[in-house]
Amino acid sequence: MSLRPTTPGHLMTAADEAAVRRAISSTPKPDPAGPLAAALTFAWRGMRKVRHVPEQLLDVTITPVMFVLMFTYVFGGEVAGSTADYLDYLLPGILVLSVLFTTVYSGVALNTDLTKGVVDRFRSLPVWRPAPLLGSMLGDTVRYVLAGTVIVLVGLALGYRPPAGVGGVVAALGLVVIFAFGLSWVFTTLGLLLRSPNAVMNAGFMGIFPLTFLSNVFVDPETLPRPLEAFVNVNPISVLARASRGLMGGNADMTDIVIVLAVAAGLTAVFAPLTTRLYRRG
C-alpha cells in the first residue's frame, strides 16, 4: 500500500501564483502617513492589543484590587480607627499605585516588540521615527485610565465617597496619568536596554515596588522611623499620592500638584530623548 498525500497541492498552483501576482501589481502608491497620523495609527495598535490581550491589564489591576481589600479590612481598623476612614486615606494612594504598576508594561511591551523583530519592521518604514514610541505611549495612556477607573469603581463599591465628587476624581486621575506618562519613559528606556521582556518586568517591579511602599500610599509617614520618614516625604510618589488625596478630598495643595507636574516633565525631558535615541540606534 502506498502513501498518499492528504493535503492537496504540494506546490503553489498557477492560480495561487496568479492571485499573488495580481495583488502585487495592483499595489497602490500613496505617500506615507505624516508624523501625527503615524503616531495615531500606532496608538490604535496599542488599543487593539488591550482588547486582544486583556489579561495584561488584568494582571496589573488585580494586585491593587487585592491591596485595597486586604489593607482596608485587615489593617484598616488598626491604622485609622475604622475601615471606612482608612479607605478614605488608602483609595487615592492605591489609584496611584495601580496606574504606576501599569507603566512597567510600557517597557515590557516595547521589549517584546524588539525581541520579536516588530521594531525592525517599524524602523524600516518611511514614517517619522519616534512615531511608534509616541503612539504606544498614547495607547498606554488609555490603559492607565482603565486601570485607574477600575480602582475608583472598586472603591465606590466598598463605600468610598470622594468629597470632591466626580470632578475631583477626574482631576486626580488626570494628574496620575500625566505622572505615569513621564514615568513610563523610564521603563521604555529600560525596555530598550535589557535583553528580555521578563528582565524588564523584574527590574521594573524591583524599582516601582519599594518606591510605592516607601511612600505615604499605605500609612501616614509620621508613624515611621525618622530617616525613613524623611525619605518618604521627598519620594515623588508620596507627593503624587498626597496631591491625589487632596484633589479627591477637595483640599488639594497647589505646591504638590506643581511638584508632580515638574517631576513628570523632568522625567520626560531626560528619558524621552534617551528612549528615542536608543530606538533609532536599534
Binding site: T7, H10, L11, M12, D16, E17, A19, V20, R21, R22, A23, I24, S25, S26, T27, P28, K29, P30, D31, P32, A33, A37, A38, T41, F42, W44, R45, R48, K49, H52, V53, D113, L114, T115, K116, G117, V118, V119, D120, R121, R123, S124, L125, P126, V127, L193, R195, R281, G282
Partner: protein, 342 residues
C-alpha cells in the same frame, strides 16, 4: 578557487543600473567584526542570493542596507540612495522581511496588514480592502481574524511577506525566508518570491541553503566571517563546487576509513558527515560517481544507501575555502534582528 569566477557577471556597460551597490561595508560589535569589508553589486530586477552559515554576517549586512544599522565603514547605495545620508528615501523604496517573521503576534493577521497600510498612507477603507486582497492572495483569508500567535510557521511567514508588499516595494530584503518551514510552506514562499520577481521587484535573499539560492537567485555571493569569499551565478558556483555530491552510507561504520580512501582517490575531497557511517564527496560527473561506487563494491565495502544530489552548504564551503562551514558555538546564534545591542 574563489577568484576563478568572481566578477564574472557584473560590470558590462549595457547592464541596467544597480539596485544595490556596496563597497567595503564594515560593522563591528565589540571585538567581533561581524561584517568585514563586504562588496555587493545587485542588478535591478534580479534576485541576488547571499549564502552563508549562521553568524557569517548576512543579517548584519541586510540590516545595514535596510538602514537599520549604521555601517562603521564603507558605503552603500540602495536604488541610488546612500543608506546613511538618504535613509528616508531608501526606506520609501524597500521593505524588509526579517528572520523572525516580524509581525505583531497580539494582533490579527488582518490588523497587521491594515496597520501597515495606514502607516504607508492608505486611508482606512483602502487599507482594509488591500488587507483583504492580500489575505486572499496569500491563502490566509480564513485566518485573517485570528491572532497571529495562533498561526503556524508557514502562515506567519506568508503574512510577513504579505506585510512587506502592502505597498509593493522596488526592492525587498528577505532574510532566511524559509528557515524552519516545512517543504510545503517553503514551496509556497518560493512561489511568492517568483511572483514578486516576475512583477519586477528586486530581491536580496539571505539563505543558508544552496538549493534555495539555486532555485531563486540569478547571482550568489558566498559569505563567511563577514567577507564575500566567492561570487557568481548559481551555475558558476556549482561548476566550481561540483554540480552535485555523492553521499554514501555504509553498513559498517568501521569501514569508513577504507571507503574514505577509495572515494578520495576517485573523486578528490571527501567530507565526513556527522553520521559515523556516512561520507560525501563533491561529484561533478554522475559517471565518475558510478565508477567510485563500483570501486567501493570491489573492495567489499558494504553500502546501506547512496545518492547523488546537490552539494550542501558545507560542501560548498569545503570546495571554496578548504574548511567546513563553521557552526557558531552553542548559545551564540547569528545575531537576530533586535536582540543584539551594539
Amino acid at each position: 578557487m574563489a577568484g576563478a569566477f568572481r566578477g564574472g557577471f557584473t560590470g558590462s556597460v549595457t547592464d541596467p543600473p544597480l539596485a544595490i551597490e556596496a563597497t567595503g561595508l564594515v560593522k563591528s560589535f565589540g571585538e567581533t567584526r561581524a561584517v568585514d569589508g563586504v562588496d555587493l553589486a545587485v542588478r535591478q530586477g534580479s534576485v541576488y542570493g547571499v549564502l552563508g552559515p549562521n553568524g557569517a554576517g548576512k543579517t548584519t549586512t541586510i540590516r545595514m542596507l535596510a538602514t537599520l544599522l549604521r555601517p562603521d565603514g564603507g558605503q552603500a547605495r540602495v536604488l541610488g540612495y546612500d543608506v546613511v545620508a538618504e535613509a528616508d528615501q531608501v526606506r520609501r523604496a524597500v521593505s524588509l522581511t526579517g528572520q523572525l517573521a516580524s509581525v505583531d503576534e497580539d494582533l490579527t493577521g488582518r490588523e497587521n496588514l491594515v496597520l501597515l497600510g495606514r502607516l504607508l498612507g492608505l486611508r482606512r477603507p483602502a487599507a482594509k480592502e488591500r488587507a483583504a486582497e492580500l489575505l486572499e492572495a496569500f491563502g490566509i483569508q480564513a485566518a485573517g481574524g485570528r491572532l497571529v500567535k495562533t498561526y503556524s510557521g508557514g502562515m506567519r511567514r506568508r503574512l510577513d511577506v504579505a506585510a512587506s508588499i502592502v505597498v509593493t516595494p522596488r526592492l525587498m530584503f528577505l532574510d532566511e525566508p524559509t528557515t524552519g518551514l516545512d517543504p510545503r510552506s517553503r514551496n509556497q514562499v518560493w512561489g511568492i518570491i517568483r511572483a514578486l520577481v516576475a512583477e519586477g521587484t528586486t530581491i536580496l535573499l539571505c539563505t543558508q541553503y544552496l538549493e534555495e539560492a539555486d532555485q531563486l537567485a540569478d547571482g550568489i555571493a558566498v559569505i563567511d566571517h563577514g567577507k564575500v569569499i566567492a561570487e557568481g551565478t548559481p551555475g558558476q558556483l556549482k561548476a566550481s563546487v561540483g554540480s552535485g555530491a555523492l553521499r554514501v552510507r555504509l553498513l559498517d561504520p568501521s569501514q569508513r576509513p577504507e571507503a574514505e580512501r577509495l572515494l578520495e582517490r576517485e573523486l578528490g575531497a571527501v567530507v565526513r558527515e556527522p553520521d559515523p557511517a556516512a561520507l560525501s564527496a563533491p561529484c561533478a560527473d554522475a559517471g565518475r560517481g558510478a565508477l567510485a561506487m563500483a570501486e567501493l563494491a570491489r573492495a567489499s565495502v558494504g553500502i546501506a544507501d547512496f545518492s547523488l544530489g546537490q552539494p550542501s552548504l558545507d560542501e560548498v564551503f569545503l570546495a571554496l575555502t578548504g574548511h567546513h562551514a563553521e557552526a557558531p558555538a552553542a548559545g551564540e546564534p547569528e545575531p537576530v534582528p533586535g536582540t543584539h545591542r551594539p
